[in-house]
Amino acid sequence: MADTTAVSPGRQKDVRSGALTALIFLPPALTVFTLFVIVPIVEAGWYGFYNWNGLAALDNFVGFENYRQLFANKVFGHALINNLLIIAVSLLIQLPLALAMAVLLADRLFGAVAFRMLFFLPYILAEVAAGLIWRFMFDGDYGLISHAWQALGGDPLFILADRNWAFAAVLTVIVWKYFGFHMMLYIAGLQNIDASLYEAAAIDGANGWQRFRHITLPGLKPMILLSVFFSILGSLHFFDMVVPLTGGGPLNSTHTIVSFLYYFGVGRMRIGFGSAVGVFLFVLCVVAAFGYKRLLMRDE
């Protein structure tokens, strides 16, 4: 007892000096975060109700007109479908591929580390560089894919100029670039699975597939959830590669939400309209984040 009373005045002092220290430690972060993150997001909500070119006075209030135009816009509708396609390909092709590679490379078998690094390599490439590399690959005159097709007896393939196939090409690049990242997530997850489970299963005579189905898959569930969440967010943010690959063309068939925002909002200095796109994107991201949180909570 004597001890605690002796300590507590000191504690009081600590708390007070702690609050003072916080007064020094927090303001820089608080200022820069508020000024360049929170305020612009709030302003996007505000500008979204105006018709504004960024130069004249901000006085042309149009209510929900920007949103009405947005949802009536065919190019935007197409962009939304493209975003859904990205999510679908992420879940149906990229996720199984990443999972398979993770399972093949989780143990320190021959070449595991080298293959992991190789598969991760495209992820650290800048999107712009990856996009240009694949713009070359898909080029009808010089690209490898067109030449491979011609070697098989076909005509030159101008995939990125074909409105039916251009976005499929974009989707290919997405899988190429991002599966390695998801593979690393799964490898991290596999390391958290208790190895003795596998031993026990092997003793009970479970074969490789059964061990995968009943130990690996359930053990990876949180990671799979995370990977799906990242795929959805990645789709919602997808922009950089659109520029070098297609620039949104041909005939505006390969836009995503953000590239639509860039080309139709920033490019034409329609601050109000672009902000409305941004607000719509914001809502989608927040919904995705909260959906993910809820799924996680329900799991735990």
């Binding site: 993150v37 093949l104 070359f136 490898l144 991290a188």
Partner: protein, 300 residues
Amino acid sequence: MSEITVPHRPPVGAMRSRRPAKAAVPLSTPLTGLPRLLILFVVAGLVVVPLLATVIGGFKELGELRTNPFGLPKVWHWENYWGILDSLRYWRILGNSLYISTVTVALTLAVAAPAAFAFAHLRFFGERYLFNYFILGLTFPFATAILPLFIKVRDLGLLDTHWGIILPQVAFNQAFSILLMRNAFRALPSELLDAALVDGCGYIRFFVSITLPLSRPILATVGVISFVMSWNNFLLPLVVINTNSKYPWTLGLMDYQGEFIVAWQLILAFITLTILPAMLMFMLAQKHIVSGLTAGAVKG
């Protein structure tokens, strides 16, 4: 001797001896041996071909890209590469990116670390609300802020300056940096802080001379993530910068491509040389980069 090395697990050893073939097999991988390697090599080929085609294509003449798309160059045209290495624009865009990324990392750490420390160890009014305020930033899509950010950067007179990129980047780094660092700072043994306070060491000195030196791994993680994101950033510089001499390499690469449109051999050489620094860094510090990017994602 063997009795001594495996004294605890005679039953497992017994089971294994009945199935000698299984004993050496890693249990979490359903596929082993040749089939496994075959699949890995096919995927590795798909990952590597575009990269190899880019590097090798840079050594060809334009015509040879059509006549000899798959083979090695008949004559290695080093001049494609030397011409770029000899040009000011190449070194300038890399220098710009290096400057922007380095300052971004330094400022991100300098601003976020004290704030993270405050949330980890200090008690003050509104602690939880302020922390949630920052964490909110995790879900905010950057594109939503881009138009208001453009206006803000313009009004601050930072348009077409590197600070116009650095400050928003630092701001958008705060959420994940504060979260990751707060968790790491909290994980340090609390006896350290208690002992330091009893000995009359203030919070600020504790932060500078104990917390920071002990937290090098998390500082490295946050640094790596911030650096890679800044190095690869495209949308923000695209909106902020419009003078060629100030371009970071991502804009410089698109600019080069726009100038040489069909001179693919030069564009390929330029891509190779601009992604080279990132590749070299990845080779040298692959462990830190992979664990930084994935651990950051998992914990964030």
